[in-house]
Amino acid sequence: MTESYGAAFVVRWMEAAAGAVEREAGRLTELDSAIGDADHGANLRRGFAAVAEELAKEPPGTPGAVLVTAGRLLISTVGGASGPLYGTLLRRAGKELGEAGEVTRDGLARALAAGVAAVGQLGGAAPGDKTMLDALTPAVAALPESFAAARAAADAGAAATVPLRARKGRAGYLGERSVGHQDPGATSSALLFAALEEVAAG
């Protein structure tokens, strides 16, 4: 029998993501000061803290609604490029899930794939451009296999951004000087999948 997950699971995922961002904010900011403007950790922490607070107050009833709410809040609180990009990822995935009260791992993978496609469209980036897509794309592809496989794929994708040359966002102005640094957006994207695996493992 295929296991399925309800709204409470997705709420726990978002809370775990907020915890991970809080713990790793310093590292994200450090990565961002090498090739960006040293605010990725602070901006994401502000956003996910708002998400966790809102979901604790009034948790929506379906997995889709939880993701839509989380996405909306990220767009309203983060700013920069990461706000609209992370917000779109979750909002679009949530819309894809519709009104269903439960979701399977396969269903979640399909919804997140739609979210990742929307991120690519919004940001105009493709895998290999040294962005969050380099972690998200392999993670979503591996999710039907297992939560652990998705997490491992995200981590590997983030690590693989080190030798890449940035072509998008503020790191793009650095050109060759961006080579040799891990992308902060891919790193924070990997945190999302680490949180998902932790919550699934219970």
Binding site: S33, D39, P84, L122, K168, G169, R177
Partner: protein
């Protein structure tokens, strides 16, 4: 680094409280970070709204007032504002004649303003957008974020603001703003890094005795790093970088802009050198503005922006303006 602040977390709010105290003619929502003209919406007039990360003051809130912007949305330091701010500002200033968003070309600003356009249109506000991308130091290509928006933002906000003041409809104000962007180019030079309050140490490492040619207004690197030069030598490089990209056949509007940490005495001296180079290249200067307008916190350095003006643009430049940072006429 010593800063005249309370704590880094409240610099934007503290600045807005001070702006409100100094300028009762503005309505400043400190918590939601929205600044609008107190008399907004102005009946029948197209409204202009801009916004961007803080740290570039007086841009944008210092340009809110008759003849220029109707509203401004400051984000966190060097971080674009969120769509909610622009939607709130648009709703507050729209008289029904529509709203023009003036957006500097950075990924974060572009994405947040795009979302704001959708949300504002859902609320029944007619919105047009102009993207400012004047910095010639950046190679423009399909595969990058493209040129950055810098000094030309002031020209767009002043000239389009004057057109809106004259009663031009949204389509005309938008077309004029695009024309200003197409006719404007900038080039910046840093003599020191900037320091953000949150980080407290220099954003980039510029050894003493060196300067960064083609720097961006967030301390983004430019074309190259060179040993220190005289104002005369820097002016030649900056002006030629601009003229390589735009050969004006009309007299120009000239902005010699300080990055925040360079004294006005030096800026005026630099302007003399810029003018000398423009004269030598046979580019007539119609109007000049010298001062700190599009800054990068405490960065030492300057940028040169040129806009090829025609009669209409000159008339709009001379039109009255009454904002905290730009004020003449009437």
């Amino acid at each position: 680094m010593r800063m005249l602040i309370n704590v880094p977390e409240t610099v934007v709010e503290d600045g807005l409280r001070g702006l409100a105290a100094a300028h009762p003619e503005l309505t400043v929502d400190v918590e939601r970070r929205v600044v609008v003209r107190r008399d907004a919406p102005v009946a029948g007039k197209v409204a202009l709204v801009s916004g961007g990360g803080s740290g570039h003051e007086p841009l944008h809130a210092g340009f809110v007032g008759p003849g220029m912007l109707d509203g401004a949305c400051p984000g966190a330091v060097f971080t674009s504002p969120v769509p909610d701010q622009m939607v709130r500002a648009a709703a507050a200033v729209d008289s029904g004649a529509g709203v023009l968003f003036v957006v500097k070309n950075y990924t974060g600003d572009v994405l947040n303003f795009e979302m704001a356009v959708e949300l504002a249109e859902d609320e029944g506000v007619r919105v047009a957008t102009v993207l400012v991308d004047d910095d010639v130091a950046v190679t423009d290509s399909l595969y990058t974020a493209g040129r950055r928006g810098t000094g030309a933002t002031l020209f767009v906000e002043k000239l389009a603001g004057a057109a809106a003041d004259e009663g031009a409809p949204l389509e005309r104000v938008e077309a004029l703003a695009r024309r200003v962007v197409a006719r404007s180019r900038s080039f910046g030079v840093a003599l020191s890094s900037c320091t953000t309050p949150a980080k407290g140490s220099p954003t980039f490492d510029l050894p003493p005795g060196e300067l960064e040619l083609g720097v961006g207004i967030h301390g983004e690197p430019g074309r190259e790093r060179r040993g220190m030069m005289t104002a005369r030598e820097i002016a030649e490089i900056a002006v030629d970088a601009v003229l390589d990209d735009l050969r004006p056949s009309d007299p120009v509007l000239l902005l010699v802009n300080g990055m925040g940490g360079t004294p006005l005495l030096e800026l005026y001296g630099f302007n003399a050198e810029v003018r000398r180079v423009l004269d030598a290249r046979r580019v007539p200067v119609a109007r000049t503005l010298v001062g700190n307008y599009v800054t990068s916190l405490d960065m030492a350095g300057a940028s040169v922006t040129v806009c090829a003006a025609d009669e209409e643009l000159l008339r709009l430049w001379d039109a009255p303006v009454a904002t905290p940072a730009l004020r003449w006429g009437r």
